[in-house]
Amino acid sequence: MGEGKTKLIDEAGRRRDGRKWDELRPISIQVGLMKNADGSAYIEWGKNKIMAAVYGPKEVHPKHQVLADRALLRCRYHMAPFSVDERKNPAPSRREIEISKVIREALQPAVIVEDYPRTAIEVWVEVLQSDGGSRVAGITAASLALADAGINMRDLVVGCSCGIVNDQVVADLDDTEDKEGSGDMPVAIMPTLGKVTLLQVDGIYTREQFQKAFELAIEKGKQVNAMQRAALNSRFFGGEATTSEVEEAAE
């Protein structure tokens, strides 16, 4: 987290890319692009370009990891070496290992793992280009890939990150706002069930700011969920999702 000193919001309340405080970056989602995977989804969210693919349910290797009463959910979040300004070492960093864990724990509440005992379900999230909020964008794509693979689910999972920039709560931080701002709060929810499956916080929030950012992240997540559903619709029922369909889904 930065010091929050860089001016990221102008007098008119516009952010560097012209967004208002509660506005999302442009998002586009496509489901089922990968031929070999059982399910896949590709998301572009701001400058993020992320592919998620699902394999399974399949046999568990190594065998000692088998769970007798449910599926083993595996998840890897990985950033391509060319996804950031300075080349990133392709070996998984401690940050990526932690994010893989929280993504898995964000998706698992939605997956009915009890329906697939003694199997593995693998979720691979590859960040081809990264911007702020790549973990929530990854979760948003990964839950669509799970749905595309026909895995039984209780709900989709969708995320959005909110935070504090110039002592003000804002939605959907981009890279600069994440680095120069003073707080970042990624949240993932199951929108229909109204439950939170991922919450990470850094930066200093008063009690009021915490609640405002947290509730804003949930509200924005619901907005992204409408786009998720439209992308699934267009995968299985054809045709581009129209704006009215997206709006309908939002209601």
Binding site: I97, V102, G203, I204, Y205, R207, Q211
Partner: protein, 268 residues
Amino acid sequence: MKKNYVMETIRKAQMVQMLAVGKRMDDRGLDQHRELKIETGVIPKANGSARVFLGNTQVIAGVKIATGIPFPDTPDKGILMVNAEILPLSSPYAEPGPPSEDAIELARVVDRGIRESKMVDLGKLNLVSGKTVIAVFVDCNIMNVDGNLFDATSYAVVAALRTATMKKYVVKDDKAVATDQMVPVPVEKTPVSVTFARIGDRVVVDPNTEEEASMDMRITITTEDGGNVCASQKGEADSITPAQVLQAVDTSIRLGKEIRAKITEATK
């Protein structure tokens, strides 16, 4: 570390029944921590150290200080690194080898709480901008596991840092030279981490191993002196309702004050 607890499922049913009437298996209240004991200065060779007992969970934190090269994006700031290792001697389920996912998460969540609270004033650790800064390393050894490593480790780091001293450096011709004078590490805040476990539909504070083996979800909320939230992390493969999150924030702010007083008292 939630492994091979044979009675897990049976115990969980019993625990849920007891929690429904507001009781915990060790007779604690739902928002009551286990006894917290803090000893400081346990490793004289370290710049600062603390041994923390949270019930039967035991953690030793040691501070080591050296000079280092600053990160390119913060050329005029010192370096703070918090790490934790779950030692193989700490539990029958811990193994030697590269850090597990759990150990990495533990270290990163504890580090986040300390860092984001701005406990250590890194600006005061600058010696020669862009070239030499003071680097503060806090390493934690988990000695005995009985649940809630997050809070125990965080308290150990805070106690070790609050009592740490370092050599005073002077800058001559753009070179940092150590003197014999010892000064305290510039500590500004006392962050306090409070960890909750949801078991069934009840949320309890400071879960022990038994409760962790049965928990559906874990959430850690760290607050700083002003009662502001500075870090949080939800863990485990289940969800939490928004109302439970906000309730946990309020509880963390309330309990944070009591625990901060205890840590301050033990590290005077």
